[in-house]
């Protein structure tokens, strides 16, 4: 249960330190408010850097599509003695029935114990056939997987079958189609929900969707950078992150809306956003943290099958937490600035909110004209 590789221990410790620091940082908002919206340039800069890294990796390295997407056959075998990737690759070379196309081999770093107490090393062999079948399939058929297994056993010695999987072209085609469809529908429905929920104000929906896009691109990009295999649970992870990102943004938006109604036109919108983000910071950190705790548990202790999935979610949810505070909220401010949906007061940051040494960034040049800000639902009393 706790037999982690040394590198994993380092990773685990890093995560624990990182999460602890996040808690301390989140707690500090209890004592003082920060001018978060004043450093928008830095946040967008960090995100731009990550996006460049992600897109660059996608362009250069591309994605490592898993069996679900490419089709083919996987053999999972247990070997009683340690073998290396090269040994397995060599054994695969002279298998000719049928001729193999792609050959990918992964071997476990250490021995594992099965239910009978025997030691084995896990070997995963993923192959496609060189010549596609009549239907365009790349998987091994009928007796071919068994033949391959026997062939490997004759080269590597006694092997135990742990599992096999063959996926044909129909399934892979459908999976791709469904993945895109689900993603599109999810973004649309969630955007629409926010639009309706926030009194028909499209800027909230747009800001939330900007954050989703940001998270999804970073998630796919870092997956490509890590060279991990993209399989169907990844699609599920992608949609979960989209949902989570919206949820995270919605909580901040809720507070913005509440404060907006409370302060009316007394404070400029950027300041209202800043107050709201400050008030919800401790909550943002804590909700993300509880999810990350469970994900760290899955990643380090959930076994190799769930590791890709947990990795995707760790990246996505961290990005999601970052983006709802540092991308979604600033985007709202920018939309408000350039697409004036309502007239507002000429106010610079009030000293009560921004520390004196921080340069006030929002100096609205517009004139103080017109009535109070739009109010979708009657003004709520803050208790």
């Amino acid at each position: 249960m706790f037999n982690l590789a040394p590198l994993s221990w380092v990773g685990l410790v890093c995560w624990i330190i990182g999460l602890t620091m996040a808690v301390i940082w989140g707690r500090s908002f209890r004592h003082r408010q920060r001018n978060l919206m004043g450093n928008m340039g830095i946040y967008f800069g960090i995100s731009a850097l990550m996006l460049v890294l992600a897109i660059g990796s996608l362009a250069v390295k591309g994605l490592n599509f898993g069996l679900d997407f490419t089709g083919g056959t996987i053999l999972e075998l247990g070997s009683p003695k340690m073998v290396t990737t090269d040994e397995v690759q060599k054994a695969l070379e002279d298998f000719k029935a049928p001729e193999l196309g792609d050959r990918m081999v992964q071997v476990g770093a250490n021995m594992q114990t099965d239910e009978e107490g025997k030691q084995y090393q896990r070997i995963v062999v993923r192959v496609t056939r060189a010549q596609a079948t009549a239907e365009g399939g790349k998987q091994l058929e009928n007796k071919e997987p068994a033949a391959l297994e026997q062939h490997l056993a004759s080269k590597l010695g006694d092997l135990k079958q742990l599992g096999t999987a063959s996926i044909g072209p129909t399934i892979t085609g459908e999976l791709r189609y469904h993945a895109f469809l689900a993603m599109g529908v999810a973004m649309l429905v969630q955007g629409l929900y926010i639009f309706l929920r926030f009194g028909m104000q499209w800027r909230y929906g747009i800001a939330a969707n900007v954050a989703i896009l940001h998270d999804v691109i970073i998630m796919v990009g870092l997956f490509s950078l890590a060279g991990r295999q993209l399989d169907s649970p990844f699609v599920a992870a992608l949609l979960t992150v989209a949902g989570y990102s919206v949820m995270d943004s919605v909580v901040i938006f809720d507070r913005i809306r509440e404060n907006d109604q409370f302060y009316g036109g007394k404070k400029p919108f950027p300041e209202i956003v800043n107050i709201s983000v400050n008030q919800t910071m401790s909550r943002s950190v804590n909700t993300t943290l509880t999810v990350l705790i469970t994900l760290v548990a899955i990643y380090f202790f959930g076994g190799s099958t769930l590791q890709n999935f947990a990795y995707a979610l760790l990246v996505g949810i961290t990005a999601g937490a970052y983006s709802s505070v540092f991308i979604a909220a600033p985007t709202l401010v920018i939309i408000d600035k350039y697409f004036k949906s309502a007239p507002k007061a000429t106010v610079s940051y009030s000293t009560a909110v921004a520390p004196a040494e921080v340069d006030p960034v929002y100096r609205e040049t517009g004139t103080d004209d017109g009535p109070k800000r739009r109010r979708s639902r009657g003004q709520r009393r803050r208790l």
């Binding site: 399934i171 459908e174 469904h178 929900y193 979960t240 919605v250 469970t294």
Partner: protein, 434 residues
């Protein structure tokens, strides 16, 4: 609610206990969870039914719901001739069948059983006087077979398969054999000649024998042979299960060995327990008493969610992606509590009395909680609708988790906090995190 918190807590306890007994058997100290193939062992095959011509009429048999249902029955009988195994064959619109065979790790045999159309044809020779060639024409098919069994032949050397025909078919068969007296008749199985024999006299009794089965190469296993008994039994099983009117194509298949299944289960349960444990510790450490009540609610949530997956009649199965979705939902379930308690703390810092802070905390956090759950719920629902099988399991557990967490995180936690505050008289501001 305030004065009756005690009753509510009792009801809550009873409900939790009932749920607990749905998933846990105290006598054997065993968890009663319906596990998917990936967490135990077995084979999974997804097939597509493909249109095929009817051998008698030459018409194309379209894939309808009826054909699909017929195929489900045929597969059930073929894979499970004595009805003792837990084989699940699920039709999936428009033309799919998912076959799941627990504990079967011989994927090849299962695939072969599924792939066979098992069409029996009885053919008669037609002599063409012009070309002077004999062609075989299908005179009957196997739809009239009511049952088949294997038996040793009278000489004790070989085996034979006897199959019985229903009334129309036996009448048809009688006419055919009357016509063919003194000539040859051929019995074909999936286009392969099983036997041809001289018809000596008309057969009108409605039963027919395929004789002289003496074993041979096993089509299910490379390099192995079947004995006469095995071959006869296989044939009898296929015949009595009935034939498929259509062809079958395998789309996807996998097996999981007991080793791998047990390991996945152990790992995912470990991860789940650790996730739950750490989240509870964190909540108690950060939010004190409210955190503790949230932890209790979280444990209740876990039990209820697992019990919901066990509701009889609903075909919920716990798969590996499902467990991952569930562990994730534990992290998200406390989300609502974090929202409430943050608000509670804020109100306490502003100097409000505890009782007021509690009700404001719950009241003010509600819109955000609802928004969050609705958006996550939408996502999970879309996954369930549009996803492939693996993703669907994940979407379903996430959806069930989202619905329950909305209730446990608000109502249940509120009940527990009220109970602690009004009944147990824990009213110190510090214990509420001020």
């Amino acid at each position: 609610m305030k004065r009756h918190s005690g009753i509510w807590v009792l009801l809550l306890g009873a409900f939790t206990l009932a749920c607990l007994f749905m998933i846990w058997d105290p006598r054997g100290n065993k968890l009663k969870l319906r596990l998917g193939l990936d967490l135990k062992s077995g084979s999974h095959i997804a097939v597509r039914l493909v249109e095929a011509p009817n051998p008698l009429t030459g018409e194309t048999v379209k894939i309808t719901q009826r054909v699909q249902e017929q195929a489900v029955l045929v597969f059930q009988k073929r894979l499970n001739p004595d009805g003792t195994k837990e084989i699940v064959v699920t039709p999936e619109p428009p033309d799919r069948l998912i076959v799941e065979i627990p504990e079967e790790t011989d994927l090849q045999k299962a695939e072969d059983l599924v792939r066979q159309a098992a069409r029996l044809e009885i053919k008669e020779p037609r002599f063409d006087p012009v070309t002077k060639e004999t062609t075989w024409k299908t005179a009957m098919d196997g739809t009239g077979i009511t049952g088949a069994h294997a038996q040793p032949s009278t000489d004790g050397q070989t085996w034979e398969v006897v199959f019985n025909l229903n009334r129309t078919a036996s009448k048809q068969f009688g006419e055919l054999t009357r016509r063919l007296v003194g000539r040859q008749m051929g019995i074909y199985f999936d286009g392969r000649e099983v036997m041809s024999a001289n018809v000596e006299e008309p057969i009108t009794g409605g039963s027919c024998r395929i004789t002289k089965i003496h074993g041979g190469p096993d089509p299910f296993h490379e390099g192995k042979t079947r004995t006469a008994v095995e071959e006869a039994t296989d044939l009898a099983n296929l015949l009595s299960a009935g034939s498929l009117p259509v062809d079958v194509k395998i789309l996807e298949s996998y097996t999981v060995s007991p080793t791998l299944g047990a390991q996945s289960l152990q790992y995912s349960l470990t991860a789940g327990a650790m996730g739950l444990g750490f989240v509870c510790l964190y909540m108690i450490g950060y939010y004190k008493l409210p955190g503790f009540t949230a932890s209790v609610a979280l444990v209740i949530y876990t039990v209820i969610c697992l019990a919901s997956m066990n509701i009889p009649g609903l075909e919920f199965v716990l798969t590996l992606p499902g467990i991952a979705g569930f562990i994730l939902s534990i992290g998200m379930a406390v989300d609502a509590n974090v929202l409430i308690f943050e608000r509670l703390k804020e109100e306490l810092w502003e100097g409000k009395p505890v009782a007021q802070a509690i009700s404001i905390g719950f009241e003010k956090a509600w819109p955000s909680i609802l928004d969050g759950h609705v958006t996550t719920g939408f996502g999970a629902f879309i996954l369930y609708i549009f996803g492939s099988a693996t993703i669907r399991g994940f979407g379903l557990t996430l959806l069930v988790g989202t619905i329950w967490s909305l209730i446990t995180a608000t109502m249940f936690t509120r009940t527990l906090i009220d109970f602690a505050f009004y009944n147990l008289k824990v009213q110190d501001r510090k214990t509420f995190g001020a």
